[in-house]
Symmetry: D2
Subunit: 336 residues, 4 copies
Amino acid sequence: MQRFALLGAGFIGSVHAANLAAHPGVDFALVYDVDQARAEALADAHGARPASDLAQAFDPDQVDAVFIASSTNTHAENLRRAADAGVAALCEKPIDLDLSHAVDVVGYATARDARAMVNFNRRFDRDYVELKRVVDSGEIGQVELIQLTSRGPAMPPLSYIQVSGGQMRDQTVHFFDLARWIADLDPVEVFAAGSILAEPRLAEFGDVDTSAVTLRLSTGALVQIDSTRRTGYGYDERIEVLGSAGLVEACRHRAGAVSRYTAGRVVDDGLHSGWFERVQPTYAAALVHFVTALENDDAITPSLHDGLKAQAVAEAAARSLTTGKSEPITYPTPQS
Amino acid sequence: MQRFALLGAGFIGSVHAANLAAHPGVDFALVYDVDQARAEALADAHGARPASDLAQAFDPDQVDAVFIASSTNTHAENLRRAADAGVAALCEKPIDLDLSHAVDVVGYATARDARAMVNFNRRFDRDYVELKRVVDSGEIGQVELIQLTSRGPAMPPLSYIQVSGGQMRDQTVHFFDLARWIADLDPVEVFAAGSILAEPRLAEFGDVDTSAVTLRLSTGALVQIDSTRRTGYGYDERIEVLGSAGLVEACRHRAGAVSRYTAGRVVDDGLHSGWFERVQPTYAAALVHFVTALENDDAITPSLHDGLKAQAVAEAAARSLTTGKSEPITYPTPQS
Amino acid sequence: MQRFALLGAGFIGSVHAANLAAHPGVDFALVYDVDQARAEALADAHGARPASDLAQAFDPDQVDAVFIASSTNTHAENLRRAADAGVAALCEKPIDLDLSHAVDVVGYATARDARAMVNFNRRFDRDYVELKRVVDSGEIGQVELIQLTSRGPAMPPLSYIQVSGGQMRDQTVHFFDLARWIADLDPVEVFAAGSILAEPRLAEFGDVDTSAVTLRLSTGALVQIDSTRRTGYGYDERIEVLGSAGLVEACRHRAGAVSRYTAGRVVDDGLHSGWFERVQPTYAAALVHFVTALENDDAITPSLHDGLKAQAVAEAAARSLTTGKSEPITYPTPQS
Amino acid sequence: MQRFALLGAGFIGSVHAANLAAHPGVDFALVYDVDQARAEALADAHGARPASDLAQAFDPDQVDAVFIASSTNTHAENLRRAADAGVAALCEKPIDLDLSHAVDVVGYATARDARAMVNFNRRFDRDYVELKRVVDSGEIGQVELIQLTSRGPAMPPLSYIQVSGGQMRDQTVHFFDLARWIADLDPVEVFAAGSILAEPRLAEFGDVDTSAVTLRLSTGALVQIDSTRRTGYGYDERIEVLGSAGLVEACRHRAGAVSRYTAGRVVDDGLHSGWFERVQPTYAAALVHFVTALENDDAITPSLHDGLKAQAVAEAAARSLTTGKSEPITYPTPQS
């Protein structure tokens, strides 16, 4: 049994809490939140205890792993604590919005042989796992073109956008990671074009809500990613991989499978109204992966280095948004 | 080159005329119709000549084959004429609405080694041909259950219904033939339930507009056919064959492939508004088959005997509609 | 909070246990099973207690409701106990395989104003609920034809089949209930044709593995149901309702949404391998419905009378299998 | 009746010949080809006459319109001849591979009020027409993102590629036109990334076989186009338009609608093996449009200026392939 402390009792923390409670190989021990009452309520609901303080959550006598779902600006510090304590860490992305800080902490953690995973949960989506299996099997030959669609249903609150790092670092970064993972190749350059079409106030933050990104992978294979913050028709993501011998596609998910036929048209159930309905099962699957890796002492992926690499792509993409040029991507080498 | 005379210059005759004109192996020679002006107009439009009289259309010095698309009550007589003249015949179904008359003419034609085909055009549908290929290949194992859907968009005129022979003999008979053809087995008994749900005046003719038919094939495999005269949503036919090792389905056809996503729903293009849009290509394909069989002196199917057998199933089905019992199917043996 | 005792700790009991534990309005108190160790293990896993004996499970001081998931031959007796104790009951189908016994117990329960639900879980399927909503809304006009497909992936063990009551009473009965529920109409007659195509030893029990059933509803609308015990391609159920103004269909569910394109074909993810993957969410939804009805003191459906009616259709269908005739359906009137 | 001369009796000329012959409003008069025998054969097959020389094909006493399907390097000269003769022209793209020559001829034709259409046949695809209707209707709000997929099944002969102008000018140019037409907006800048992944010998021509293009439209809306010369799985094109209020998609076309279910997977009919099967109906539809415009003296689109604009986008895209930067698009102004 792996003893876990959960850091962060907000919405996503509550999702993780339910998964921790349901996992037969997890002893869900502690919940920490800066809001003590919120920590207590979440702990109570799942048979865990609130941590008396942050230190308790990293006490190796009480926990084997921490699930870092606290606010973004605490991720790096919590990863350091886990490395110091010799406690494993499952960390929500990003490691740190400031790439150089993120590089530092990864160096720090690596030097201490920390066991850590960045929670790129989409890697655990049932369909994406199958898509990658097909790609890896060679059924479609060599990867030549990947298309990824990342479309949120509605503009997040401006207060969130403002501290999010912008569309590339906050939204598209998940798909940078997916592209790297699917192709098993690193992007070498990136071009990004963006526009403000949905929310004019984004101009104040230098952000965009609609973007088209092109990556060139090390083999010359190309990647196209479109991202929008607001679709008007629900949550939409899909991936298509064109290989030299065929194509594999992870199609959009519908919220149901009912069709209504009337004269001249068929009305089907639409997409999920929110992102969470679409990706919910990936959180439990990611946790299962992490726990299994801990139990078997396997290498843990997506690693902190995977997290850094996706961030490095996002940095170059953000730069390209302003330069109008294809930007080379430099991957940082953490000093450990 | 096969020289053809076309009998009948109505709607379906005009369809056949265009196919005869376009077929590179056909010399489209003559058109006959009781309405001479109509014959002339159709002949003119396709570079053929109007027949001076019916006899010319059967003159073996001028034609190799007749396409019998004249009114139903003339089919049998025209088949006899073709047999007498030694001219091949492609005949719209039915041979004759009166099964005993049909049996007589088939015996007559058989005794004279007539080359003739009943135009069950759906056997030449691209998807049904592929479905049968899958069934014949053994990919889905032994046939266990077939479901066929036969749904017209709108009630035909009552004047048509009245002389059509009723839903079993006019509409469902196509699917009796398809079931026999796909399974390569003869039905041994039939149960039919019918209702008048769309057009109350059908009660005057002892007809129904909505029916559910069950056939038992000689192996014990079962067939379900639903038929309706009026869907409200377009023309709808589909076939599904369940075998011991899998399923093959020829799905509904849509009139287009455009999808519109809005909140909570997706609106796709609907079905064809009429039967003709759905089955149009089958007419040319059936003609190609007939001409090729003539040229190669191959056996011609669907044969007159196939036509009789489908009618025999329809007769038993019509009887079951009134008895409420499963009725045995007796196949007539024409005396030649 | 509704205090529940669960009767039966087998496979389906364990499914219900997880749902009882997760429902926020349920106090999952007790588990009873004839195998005491099995009861203990299941209770432990979900924070419930094993019942000391069957009486405790019906003690109104300790429980408000029982979930009857014990073996079929105990359903009737447990329903009587619940009625005697004034404890609500959620009972797996059937009430009793012997229809006259079932009628007796429903009379008994009704006389005591028992609150009880027969667990026709498919009524709570997300897609079927939506399909019924469309039908009830009038969007497709009057119901004219319903097609239901009930296809299990693999032959159940003969030991199960032997005591199951046969295909009509065990498998198709779910779809008799769905047809009644969707149309809000009672079938008045039934024709059933069946064959043994997958498992010859069924002949020993007078059972069939493949069947085609036609129901006539009180309005003249028709219903077709095909059932097979073994598809070879996975678990397959679907429902299609043809109305006077349109069609609504609850399509097959796929296990995933990945498509692989190679020359000439597209390979999609297939159906679920087993029935449980397809219908799993319905069990939680059915429990939610039952608990909500208890809390609000609403009428509870599907009621015991619904259970009886579906069984009455199955009885007539089983009779038709042997008579080869359409059989009238008589609904029993329990004496209370 | 519009009297037509067809210039060019190659493959695409033969397609146009059949459509000219079948169009009830066309008098298909003449066929010209540098290979006289080929012209004769094609003319014979469709009841037209071979032109004695090129001059006859432009004789306004004999023809009202020419269909320019001759080799690419003759398009411009033939457009000039048509303008001189006052004969309408339907011209295969491109006007001339050299954009400045194309500009000149458009100026020349415009000065003479020439009636001419560039045959961007995809504008007449049934699904794309419907997609544009949806966009124009406002159902999906303002256009924000368009995705177009242009994928050929197999590498064309190198001899063709070499004189084609390259992927941007030969293949992607159709989709530049579609993007302009759908959005009713001009692209203002373009970024293109390309790779040689399928045919290494393309390096000799400075061409690519796989590319990802991003356009920015005048409103800030973005367009992504992926193009490949060789898919390995058939001919694939699709268009998706994301608007502020919804999405409309013209989906891939399948060659049939048969599905085969076996354990764990469903095998559907795949895409068309070649481009022609997919787009064949667009040629007849384009001709109908042109003839109708002539008869009604309507404005003719896509106009020569539309042809120039698509070429201008292709020029900038080709430039971006080598500069690695987003390139501004300058639209030429023909001097008339």
